[in-house]
């Protein structure tokens, strides 16, 4: 039974992606999609339907899957690392830092690629500052690390607010607001191609160290007594999760709740062992995000911000998960 869960989740993801690729404001019949895919294999000039499919819809579905998988994997890793199921990938300030980078780019009127790059760099730099600060204060103490994350994250949020005040209220402020609410509306194939390697490189250490990351959730002393080099392992996980999250946020903007909620859903299916939790989280997260983004682009003619949708879905779902786990704890 346990071995079949990831297979079923993978099938579900593929099914949801296929359905999502068939939904959109530009009507394309299912047979036409099939035809387009076959014609595409032959190459040549694209017609409108093919452009919609291959330039807009499929990249967007892929980007949604990638972002969902990335945020969920990072969330699952952080929850094990910090021994706390209420931790999200933002705990060390990566989203605030990325947000500041992006918002600064918008204020300076840079190109989209440059804004994405600034967001990515902002996320990485913020976590680097947090880690350095925590190390200088008291090396290796988890609580100091979390507090440093909160402090630096708050500074980045304050900087975002400052940029909002400085920004042109007609021109730049809407762009800033939309970025901070998260969206995949403008995703291009190039974006997917640019982000994919970073997510894969970030996922690799998590996959390889899957067993040890689970052991680390017992706490430093126990994990070390069991033969785990806790310090280097934690540094590797933070580096990997930060790389993944910063890449995802650079392409999607700030999308909350996914990294917090999805690992819980996955844990219900496969239990807390990280070696089983990681693939389940990746698959559930990708499925969830593809579904959420399909809603975001098809609920109305205009985009519903992705971050708003994930919060609307994520909040109540999380309450339900908490209520459920509480019931299970009663004798």
């Amino acid at each position: 039974m346990r071995a079949t869960v990831p297979v079923l989740l993978a099938l579900l993801l593929v099914a949801v992606m296929v359905v999502a690729a068939g939904i959109g404001p530009y009507a394309i019949a299912p047979l036409e999609i099939l035809g387009a895919v076959i014609r595409r294999a032959g190459g040549g000039e694209m017609d409108a339907a093919e452009t919609v499919l291959f330039q807009i819809r499929l990249p967007r579905v892929l980007a949604a899957a990638l972002v969902g998988a990335a945020l969920s994997a990072a969330g699952a890793a952080y929850q094990s690392l910090f021994r706390n199921p209420l931790v999200s990938p933002d705990i060390l300030g990566v989203s605030s830092g990325a947000g500041f980078g992006a918002v600064l780019g918008i204020l300076l009127g840079l190109s989209v690629a440059a804004i994405q790059l600034l967001a990515f760099a902002g996320g990485l730099a913020t976590v680097a500052v947090v880690a350095t600060l925590a190390r200088a204060l008291r090396g290796g103490d988890l609580l100091v690390l979390v507090l440093s994350g909160i402090v630096v994250g708050a500074l980045a949020s304050a900087a975002i607010s400052l940029v909002k005040v400085l920004a042109d209220p007609y021109d730049q402020l809407p762009a800033i607001t939309f970025w901070l609410l998260g969206s995949l509306a403008g995703v291009t194939p190039a974006d997917v191609a640019a982000v994919l390697p970073f997510v894969v490189v970030g996922l690799l250490p998590l996959v390889l160290l899957r067993w040890r990351i689970g052991v680390l959730s017992l706490g430093d002393d126990e994990a070390r007594a069991l033969g785990v080099e806790a310090g280097p392992l934690r540094a590797a996980v933070i580096g990997a999760a930060t790389l993944i999250t910063a890449s995802a946020v650079a392409v999607s903007g700030v999308v909350g709740w996914v990294g917090l909620m999805v690992p819980h859903m996955a844990r219900l299916l496969v239990g807390p062992r990280f070696d089983r939790l990681l693939p389940a989280s990746v698959l559930v997260g990708a499925t969830f995000m593809v579904a959420a983004d399909t809603l975001a682009r098809s609920l109305a003619q205009v985009e519903v911000p992705l971050g708003v949708l994930t919060a609307l879905i994520g909040g109540p779902t999380f309450v339900w998960l908490l209520a459920r786990s509480r019931r299970r704890h009663l004798p």
């Binding site: 404001p25 819809r57 042109d168 209220p169 021109d171 939309f178 003619q301 911000p305």
Partner: protein, 346 residues
């Protein structure tokens, strides 16, 4: 175009000195657009514009009375402004929430009056009352609705002591509206252009039908393809696929880079407006022709849009009309090169 303005500034400075010396403090009471009674000093030499829309209004009527900009115009806008307005300081805005200016700074600027141009709803009415109560500075609310422009010009002209100029501008504005109405009346419904407003460099922000951002497009008979969630409209984000589904035949862009790059973006290729090369950047000097700030700057935008949307129905020369508008409203004389640069998207 500079010389004439320098003379005008000199006159203005002398005039200022003359009126500033005998501070008589006499005043009259005027009802503003919200119906509030406002104690207006007889002589007004220092005006604080509460936000960018009000700044355009005050600039057009009496640039010499401005004590600063809520947001300083860009460097590129300088040649399109009278010299006295170019170097004015940036003072911040006073619009209720998210102010960038404290009352104390406002008092330190010693304005005779605060002018706000835009919504005259309850929020702004109460804000105006609070400012006056706390600072003693009169606060004039002027209706910013598009069709109210002639009246608003008359009201503000009267208050600022430039009644004649207000009347002249009001008539010119009314003439533009009449021209729009006459032209649009000749266009059958099925020939109305389907227009998409592309904001930002990606062009994926737009104003939905009924929004203040697109009312100028709708006013000149364009069909705004973006239908929003609510009647009043607002700025939203859309996907390229939705734009393809809307199939606009004309795109009005605010960002020059978008217009330049859109042809190279595969996702935009199926859009009819892109295929037929009907993507136009709204000129933006010294203020944008379309969208923001939502003020009198959009008057010239209507002239421009008529030419863009109905080239066959507008036999007269666009450049000439724009030049005349700038002379009258912005009080700058543009050379042919200036006009080319302006309309070329500079």
């Amino acid at each position: 175009m500079i010389g004439r303005n320098r003379c005008r500034v000199l006159c203005a400075v002398i005039g200022l000195l003359v009126v500033a010396l005998p501070a008589t403090g006499s005043a009259r009471e005027i009802a503003d657009s919200a119906g509030r009674p406002v104690e207006v000093p007889d002589r007004i030499s220092r005006v604080f514009a509460a936000g960018p829309p009000a700044a355009v209004l005050v600039y057009m009527l009496a640039p010499e009375t401005m004590i600063g900009w809520p947001r300083a115009p860009r460097e590129a806008a300088s040649p399109f402004l009278v010299p006295s307005a170019r170097a004015l300081p940036e003072l911040g805005r006073l619009t209720g929430r998210g102010d960038t200016l404290g009352f104390e700074r406002l008092m330190a600027a010693e304005p005779d009056i605060v002018v706000d141009f835009g919504s005259v709803g309850e929020t702004y009415r109460s804000l105006a009352d609070r400012v006056t109560a706390q600072t003693g500075i009169p606060y004039l609310l002027v209706d910013g609705r598009f069709d109210a422009i002639p009246q608003s010009l008359r009201l503000a002209g009267d208050v600022l002591g430039v009644g004649e100029r207000g009347e002249a501008l009001a008539e010119a504005a009314q003439a533009i509206f009449d021209r729009v109405d006459r032209t649009v009346a000749t266009v059958p419904d099925e020939d109305r252009p389907r227009v998409y407003l592309a904001r930002g460099r990606e062009g994926l922000e737009t104003g939905t039908r009924g929004s203040i951002n697109t009312e100028i497009i709708e006013r000149v008979g364009g069909v705004n393809v973006a239908e929003g969630l609510r009647e009043k409209g607002g700025i939203v984000q859309v996907s390229p696929e939705q734009v393809i589904a809307w199939a606009p035949d004309t795109i009005i862009a605010l960002d020059r880079d978008f217009t330049r790059e859109v042809g190279d973006r595969p996702a935009w290729r199926p859009v009819p407006a892109v295929r037929s090369g009907r993507v136009f950047t709204a000129p933006a000097l010294p203020f944008s022709f379309v969208d923001f700030p939502p003020s009198l700057n959009r008057l010239v935008g209507m002239i421009w849009l008529l030419h863009v949307l109905y080239p066959d129905r507008m036999p007269d020369d666009l450049g000439e009309q724009v030049g005349a508008f700038y002379t009258l409203f912005y009080q700058v004389d543009l050379s042919d090169a200036d006009i080319d640069r302006l309309l070329g998207g500079g």
